[in-house]
């Protein structure tokens, strides 16, 4: 956890606002970022930091908004398997587990 993300969290809390801290907690196979990488998702969907971008990040963002709506923290597994490749029966990516923490 680095000071930039900590500072952002403290700013959000200072404004009595909420957000979801998304942390990669485990990875398997080939993934863009490793365990410990973090991003923040605001209630309006804005993001600070990145867990690798692309469609898995937008899936993580949707799950973060669900966490905010339901006010629960949970883990979630993202698959980075390329759809077309998967259709062909080939697996070219990995999976990563994230923890979505309402702060």
């Amino acid at each position: 956890m680095d000071e930039i993300i900590l500072k952002t969290i403290c700013d959000i809390k200072g404004e009595k606002s909420k957000a979801v801290l998304v942390t990669i907690v485990d990875t398997h196979g080939s993934t863009p970022r490793k365990a410990g990488t973090k991003m923040l998702v605001y209630p309006d969907g804005r993001i600070v930091g990145t867990i690798g971008g692309g469609c898995t990040e937008s899936e993580a963002r949707l799950q973060a908004l669900r966490a905010l709506d339901e006010n629960i923290s949970f883990t979630y597994v993202l698959s980075l398997l390329d759809d077309n490749a998967a259709d062909e029966g080939m697996v070219c990516g990995g999976t990563m587990e994230i923890f979505l923490q309402v702060i």
């Binding site: 956890m1 680095d2 000071e3 900590l6 500072k7 969290i9 403290c10 809390k13 942390t23 907690v25 485990d26 490793k34 365990a35 410990g36 629960i72 923290s73 949970f74 883990t75 923890f99 923490q101 309402v102 702060i103």
Partner: protein, 253 residues
């Protein structure tokens, strides 16, 4: 005080800290999800996970494991718990000695990859905040004086790129015993060989001299100041991240 605020203060003080967060619990204990415990070197742990017994068991468990990287820990306690063990990562700091044409893009690129950079030079026309808008601090002072006042434990990388070899050597002597993972000094192969010969005659250890990155940088065919800066910063990164410096294409074929 809020745990994140406390962590921010620890980050500002460069205080190494373990952070443990509950990420899965048995269904009936979902209330404990997201609870955090922090352990700073030499201090009492701060925070409670589930209850005191659980917290003590967890602390005993991580004391038996040596940290490799951020990872998941599992614990049985009337059900299955998973916890994420992370660490506070403070921004790495770099010291750039010299504020000339190569220094400017070096500082800019170090800033881009997340370094807090201190620049030192004795020329006010070069060592100023306008030339280095993204430096953490710019010190306009004689090198010898500036280096006496600097906290030498703070920096993980030192880059010596002053305007003259006399100053380079003066700086090198001053920082020789700093505990840094990267120490580089600019200079042609011939100049560098001369300096190494001189230092060897003075009794400087072979081990130290083999650690010194001089001539500085990777062989990228760099010509311009910005290109040379890129080759230097690439070498700093490869050292800290333990990269091989080989093209990815040629690795693992």
């Amino acid at each position: 005080m809020d745990i994140f605020l406390r962590l921010l203060q620890k980050a500002n003080r460069y205080q190494p800290t373990d952070i443990i967060t509950i990420i899965n619990t048995p269904k009936e204990q979902a209330i404990n999800l997201g609870e955090m415990l922090t352990i700073s070197n030499g201090n009492e742990p701060e925070g409670i996970l589930v209850d005191q017994t659980f917290t003590t068991a967890l602390i005993q468990k991580i004391e038996t494991i040596s940290w490799q990287k951020a990872t998941i820990i599992e614990l049985e306690y009337n059900g299955h718990y998973r916890l994420f063990w992370d660490r506070l990562s403070t921004r790495p700091s770099a010291l750039v000695l010299g504020a000339g044409h190569i220094s400017q893009p070096v500082v800019e690129m170090l800033y881009l990859i997340g370094y807090a950079v201190t620049v030192v030079d004795d020329r006010p026309d070069f060592a100023n905040n306008i030339s280095f808008p993204n430096a953490e601090s710019v010190i306009c002072e004689n090198f010898g004086i500036a280096l006496k006042e600097i906290n030498n434990k703070r920096y993980s990388a030192i880059i010596i790129v002053t305007r003259g070899h006399r100053y380079d050597l003066e700086c090198l002597r001053a920082v020789m015993h700093y505990p840094v993972s990267y120490l580089g000094m600019i200079g042609s192969r011939r100049r560098v060989n001369g300096i190494i010969k001189k230092l060897t005659e003075e009794g400087v250890s072979k081990e130290f001299l083999s650690h010194l990155r001089a001539p500085i940088g990777l062989d990228l065919g760099a010509q311009t100041p910005a290109e040379i800066a890129l080759s230097i910063v690439a070498e700093v990164l490869a050292t800290t991240r333990k990269g091989t410096c080989l093209p990815l294409r040629d690795i693992g074929r």
